[in-house]
């Protein structure tokens, strides 16, 4: 039925002098570093501390050369043209979400939207009704695109009368609008979908220098300026959401298997939480759900009476069961701030 084993043909058709190949290889590598200087810079800042200290000056110097040659700008222009085409899709053979009438203070059902929740009013006073969301927008990076986002969407949809739209984009965050413009995309989603609740999770890809849309660096990672600028970005996202009359909920980053990465996202969580408290958004932590009594990565969860691995082998993303567990816990925490009526 199948062909018998045939040895592979290792007879070369051409032979090229080694010196020529090596010279070409190194020249091409140098060209790659100049063209992808921005990525080199991000990588050096996100790397292990020992490596970062050595690589950052070289990365910044390469970035300066690339910028002076106009390569960074050319690449940003090409990237935005290509991403612009990819991210404005024409959709066929479906019914898109019907957008609600946009009123300054009305939701899709014409009822007055309650004011964004102030942090001082986190717990309902006796007799005070909590707002009941009808249209929930979930945004974030790879976790929201994959298991966690799927699980949160399914968990939220189990409540009565809730419509959900979700957008997650791998490798994205608030740090690099030149790579993926979340403020722009968020506004587009707010304008199209008119949610009354936005659940956002960013941070996993933001442990790097913060740049503008044109690629220019605003603040280097690990500096007080970075904390200030990132806080401003989180607050700006909250303001964008609140300006449409929606409530904002930010989900924190979970504990990570890699201790260096864990320390970074822990700092990210503190910055995000402080911004949420200041601007009256809800902050839901994941840290306590993903750490065990010894302060290590929690390995297993029990879902429907059965034990499962909680995370994938990368120690970052959740397994299907882990995401289901976290989503369930998040909904229970959401219920402290919003009225969520089970569908059945």
């Amino acid at each position: 039925m199948l062909d018998k084993y045939k040895p592979i043909d290792t007879t070369p058709t051409t032979l090229t002098p080694i010196a020529w190949v090596m010279a070409a290889q190194w020249l091409l590598l140098l060209a790659l570093y100049v063209i992808f200087a921005r990525d080199f810079s991000s990588w050096s800042e996100a790397g292990e501390p020992a490596l970062s200290r050595r690589a950052i000056p070289v990365a910044h110097a390469t970035l300066a050369v690339s910028r002076s040659l106009g390569i960074v700008q050319l690449r940003e222009a090409v990237q935005q043209a290509v991403y612009g085409t990819y991210d404005k899709p024409v959709t066929l053979a479906g019914t898109a979400h019907v957008g609600a009438q946009r009123g300054s203070a009305a939701n899709s059902h014409g009822a007055a939207v309650p004011p964004p929740i102030q942090q001082a009013n986190l717990q309902a006073a006796p007799g005070r009704a909590l707002p009941q969301p009808k249209r929930v927008l979930i945004v974030g990076a790879s976790s929201i695109q994959e298991e966690l986002g799927i699980a949160v969407e399914r968990a939220v949809k189990q409540y009565k009368g809730i419509e959900v739209q979700r957008l997650g984009r791998i490798s994205s965050g608030l740090a690099r609008p030149d790579y993926f413009d979340w403020p722009g995309k968020l506004q587009e989603l707010l304008d199209q979908f008119h949610p009354d609740l936005v659940i956002a999770q960013w941070g996993g890809n933001d442990c790097q220098s913060l740049s503008n849309k044109d690629g220019s660096v605003v603040a280097n990672y690990g500096t007080p300026q970075w904390d200030e600028e990132y806080t401003r970005r989180v607050k700006a996202a909250i303001k964008q959401i609140h300006d449409t009359g929606a409530n904002a909920v930010f989900i924190g980053m979970p504990f990570m298997k890699n201790s260096n990465f864990s320390n970074k996202v822990s700092h990210m969580n503190k910055v995000t939480e402080a911004a949420c408290v200041d601007r009256g958004a809800v902050y839901l932590p994941l840290w306590d759900l993903t750490i065990d009594e010894q302060g290590k990565l929690r390995t297993a969860v029990t879902v429907d009476g059965k034990r499962h691995m909680m995370r994938l082998s990368d120690g970052i993303h959740f397994s299907e069961a882990g995401a289901e567990y976290v989503a369930d816990q998040l909904c229970q925490r959401l219920a402290q701030y919003f009225t969520l009526v089970p569908a059945k």
Partner: protein, 476 residues
Amino acid sequence: MQFPTLEFATFFAVTASISWLIRRRRVYQKAWLLVASYVFYAGWNWQVLGLILLATLLNFGAGEGLTRVRSLAGKRAWLAFSLVANLGLLGTFKYFNFFSESFGDLASIFGLSAHLPILQLVLPAGISFYTFQNIAYCVDLYRGTGLKAANLLDFALFTAFFPKLVAGPICRSRDLLPQFEADAPNAVPDVGRAASLILSGLFKKAVLATFLDTHCVSAVFGTPENYSSVALWVAMVAYTIQIYADVSGYIDLARGLGLLLGIYIPENFNHPYASTNSGEYWRRWHITLSSWLRDYIYFPLGGSRRGNWRTYFNLLLTMLVCGFWHGADWKFVMWGAIHGVALALYRMGLDFKRWRGLDMKQPDPPWHLALSWLYTMAMVCFARVFFRAENVGAAWAYIGRMLSPSAAGTGFELLVLPAIAIGFLINFWGPDLRRWFIGTSERLPFAARPVLWFATGMLILALKPSGIAPYIYFKF
């Protein structure tokens, strides 16, 4: 380290340069490549380095035992040792939690509670590939059809050679050991072919597969209840193209990089979506895996030599093993079962033709070929739903919704259609396109060729969507 990254490009430049500089000291060159391979592997997770070292020592030892022992009983003992060791390592690191959870599920059916331990074990990248390769090495030595590694260094490099380490292909001893034993070439072979393979791999992996995943497959398979039935059909075909682009793209990269180090790595795909029947499909798709299954599962079970019904059973069992190899999940077993049934049905068709005395060599008319192609593609796509869905239940729900024309929801992006068309074009004419590219570059002056390759590479990377979809076969 992943292939299309600056980090890997730097690693490769350093590795290749030093390797070629010390090529006249072949032992040192091989040792350098081995160290580089371990550094590459440790980049995934240094903790799994010990595992590949252990696997290397155990299998090299078994190989030495198999060739030194004369008695059949002794050979069988060494073969048993190598199988137990290899399958034990694979079973522990890849399947322990699957069996633990499945046992818990089974116990709960009987009203029992069974909380077996869940091991927080790192799944070593590529363990399925190098384990199968080592099993082939030992079994071939037992059968007397394989080559023994001249020394531990050659065998360690055979196991760990980094271009093919984490995602195949599954090489036989006859593929790589003679190349490692021979002197290093004094010039780089087939640079044009290497460049065309690398560019082909970049386009398939970084552009086509990533686009289909991030703009269609991931979203639709994630929450199919949000999408229309047409969107589900399109996503099913899109995933079929995505997995081909992803896997064959990685193999192209591996082969191109191997060539730049002077090593020929075997081909793994041969126009798989041109197949007109299930048997042909498995001769064209993941060739090294299907031939491994044939030689080390199907033939030992008796192949087609024990009657028709035993043949069908052997085919089904072989494909169940194939499914299970892909992942510790019942959905992969289901995927394997579908292919097993399809292969058995194909075999039944051939046996029926023979029984009726029909001319087996008579070529089929074009309409028959077209229908056969459609049927084969439909079977492959249908099985892919199980491969991609979260679990068996989700796969059936997906199929049910696909078959409900009234299912309303979001549609699919228009650009997905040309992307799928490009995938099919690459399947049919990819090698021809690569040959044309090699011919074109060879007509240019020497110094201009890298400029053409680099410019083509930059054009490809310019089309890359944001993010890189995770490589599908890294989980295996």
